[in-house]
Symmetry: C2
Subunit: 470 residues, 2 copies
């Protein structure tokens, strides 16, 4: 019995499908100031899981959390030339406070390099103070002309790490450690989203950085999403703000810095990487609700049995919810749990129970089986593990399938209608990059010839991965 | 051998002592925009522990986390008359965004009642949608003319809960549940700060509320700090924003609301409630570092022994840190750990180790004992439990000792030079309250005659607890 679709099918209109999922799974709503966003409980629960996963990895990499102010004196932002050029068009400006016009207007942080650098200059005196590794969870504001919930909003939530090191090598090593051990690891292992780790071209790098490293993913429509970036700032900000330390040999040296961030955009990435025409599909390690126990009808002891199963699954360490709302139709409830992407559904009805079984349904592939009551926990464990692995494998296979090796700009433009194109960066060059840009295609990242990280300075053999991006 | 004090003694100048502790324990620094604050790693670690404790209790009370935008259209704030009157002088205003003057200026949220109410109006249709219980962790901005780090800053961090209920009774019950099960419980059980739960007078209640309930604590200088408040908003915002639902009997009814918050001010409260002339004293359940193992000198196997002890204590579930920085003097390290208020210090030196013992020192009362190596974990467990209980008992005893029963305004003004005064609210009245205010004394809260919560409407027997407040 086919259900009437409650979402626009992806093949018909992918952006509209995305909007539908975000609205109907109750992830977020538009805020009253244009471009801002209200994150609803289910959307925020997903973000909290992302925060926990990243925060644990950030702390394991040695950074400590801090909090710097939202408002930055306008003059600070002007001290680093490229930085101000990059951010000026996006700034929000506070001109009045406490009923009076401010002597100096304050901007709302679009990123905190400039406000943090001033404190680093105070805190860093000696090589013994290094490395200095901090991170903050904060809201940032970048005025957005074409907003899209989670993907591009005027205000968004993120973490931003900021560090100072003794040498360029130390800074690079740490920027790459964050890229690999925090971002790639979390995205692959928890979000089940394969990412390419590479370097941005000069055109695409962060305003004020010397090198930007990135994790790039392919969404299920073949377009690219930048999932997290880690920047080497060189001595750009440390010269502008006077971050100097005395080296072991007594010289005065400007510190080498990094900064790195990942944001609520990851929620959008999760929707677009895994969602299907029935809604979200959440990887089990990320899902705020991993298992829902659906009481089909409350009769012949099904209610107590459902409660028992729910607490058994909770005791086994799963995030589990009981749906005993039998006054709402079964079909509507199932549709809603599918929309919300809960990885495993256990259904328990009078007939099942009489036969000593329940139904187990996997959201990722629709697999359905009857399970003996005393095998539920073991079967759920297995289903969650299999779903996690299958979702990653699917996403990897789809990316491979939709990535074409090409040898000209024209071929790249054609190939990026459905996915990524890969071609020699030596051949493409900045002129080719500009041609691609005119067609709405960008270089997502540069890889070494073997697909690994390229050398910071680049090589004639580097590959450019190009695509259309969110 | 007395050490030179590194802090201004409390008896000499309490406010300066507070500033010294905040600076030297590296909790926070002033931000570049007047009144704002940089929260440093140790201060933020304390805040994270506060967040975790409150967040778990908020979730246990059934509220779900969400996120609403920072920027609120100016007109929204004007829809509830008392609310705008209360907040207007403190607002920060964004007039420009994305390089252009905004059609309507936006204020930075001083609190989110007005932006949230508009969404509640959309989300609440039927009594089945109620209670609607949400909470957010966010930064808020209230322009501050006399800022003091943590206690009163132009930008601060907090949680704000917002709820809608079917009836006044339901709303009241929930406001009081939050007051008791979230705020009082956390403050007493974790912060070891005894609090009075009472009702605010009309003069002191939140702008837009019908009733404000509060947790009030006494700092170690005898002054009061409002630690958290829970408001009944009645139907004030639901009428202004149209939050209406269909009741079970089919009528259209305006929702009854609550809101409640606690902020980074609690970090300041923790400093002032427990600190002494050597610095912070942190209650063990709150402390980011509960035990520090200090390697006195690295010789004769003390280093490996200290490492072993550290991992034993970590395995026992304690938050423990090893201080093996033997290139810094022992005295300076001890001073620093005392400044940071770490509850238990284990010192291990060559002589101790030869005797098969270590020293255990409690920060709260200076207790020091030699402990056999195989008794360290058991002794630390006991010391942490005892310190937690002793700190609460001390704070309770000091509050009792510094609270005087008085019967006139003149006596109250005298008594509040060193603590709280308690007197009949029926006798004091709003005229007496105004007289007190002229002398810098405020009614902190009203209690029932037995010291419990007063009835919302009040009674002739209610007691007023008055004091000087931060």
């Amino acid at each position: 019995m086919p259900r009437a679709p409650i979402l626009t099918p992806r093949a018909d209109d992918f952006p509209r499908w995305y909007q539908d999922v975000v609205a109907k799974a109750e992830l977020a709503d538009n805020g009253p100031v244009r471009g801002t966003m209200v994150i609803r409980p289910y959307g925020y629960a997903i973000w909290e899981r992302i925060q926990q996963g990243l925060d644990a990895r950030i702390k394991a990499a040695g950074a400590q959390n801090v909090y710097f102010p939202l408002m930055i004196p306008e003059s600070y932002v002007h001290r680093e030339a490229e930085h101000v050029e990059g951010f000026s068009p996006e700034l929000a400006v506070v001109t009045h406070g406490g009923g009076r016009k401010l002597e100096e207007p304050a901007v709302l942080r679009p990123s905190s390099e400039t406000v943090i650098a001033g404190y680093f200059a105070k805190w860093v005196q000696s090589y013994r103070d290094l490395p200095l590794l901090v991170n903050q969870w904060a809201n940032v504001v970048r005025w957005e002309l074409r907003p899209r919930l989670f993907l591009r909003t005027t205000e968004f939530l993120w973490q931003e790490g900021h560090t100072v090191h003794e040498s360029e090598q130390d800074a690079r090593r740490y920027a790459l450690r964050i890229l690999d051990e925090v971002y790639r690891d979390f995205m692959v292992e928890v979000l089940a989203v394969p990412v390419l780790m590479g370097r941005k071209t000069e055109r695409e790098r962060f305003a004020g950085a010397t090198t930007t490293w990135t994790c790039e993913a392919m969404m299920s429509d073949g377009k690219a999403l930048q999932m997290g970036t880690s920047h080497e700032l060189g001595q750009n900000f440390s010269r502008a703000f006077g971050i100097e330390f005395q080296s072991e040999t007594g010289e005065s040296v400007h510190g080498w810095q990094t900064s790195w961030g990942a944001s609520t955009r990851l929620v959008g990435g999760l929707v677009m990487a895994h969602g299907d025409d029935d809604g979200l599909r959440l990887p089990p390690r990320l899902a705020p609700i991993q298992v829902v126990v659906v009481l089909v009808r409350d009769e012949n002891g099904t209610g107590p049995a459902a409660e028992r199963l729910t607490s058994e699954l909770a005791s086994a360490g799963h995030r589990v919810e009981l749906d005993a709302a039998t006054d709402t139709s079964y079909g509507r409830r199932v549709t809603d749990w599918e929309l919300k992407g809960v990885p495993v559904r256990i259904e328990i009805g009078p007939r099942d129970l009489a036969a000593g079984t329940v139904s187990l349904i996997r959201r990722d592939n629709g697999y359905r089986a009857d399970i003996a009551l005393d095998r539920v926990v073991v079967s759920v464990n297995a289903a969650l593990e299999e779903a996690q692995a299958a979702m990653l494998a699917d996403a990897e296979a789809q990316r491979e399938q939709r990535t074409a090796d090409v040898s000209s700009v024209a071929e790249a433009i054609e190939a990026t209608k459905v996915g990524f194109a890969r071609l020699s960066w030596g051949r493409l060059g900045t002129d080719g990059e500009a041609e691609l840009a005119a067609a709405g295609v960008s270089v997502r990242c540069l890889l070494a010839a073997d697909g690994g990280l390229p050398r910071p300075g680049g090589s004639a053999h580097d590959l450019a991965v190009v695509g259309r991006a969110y």
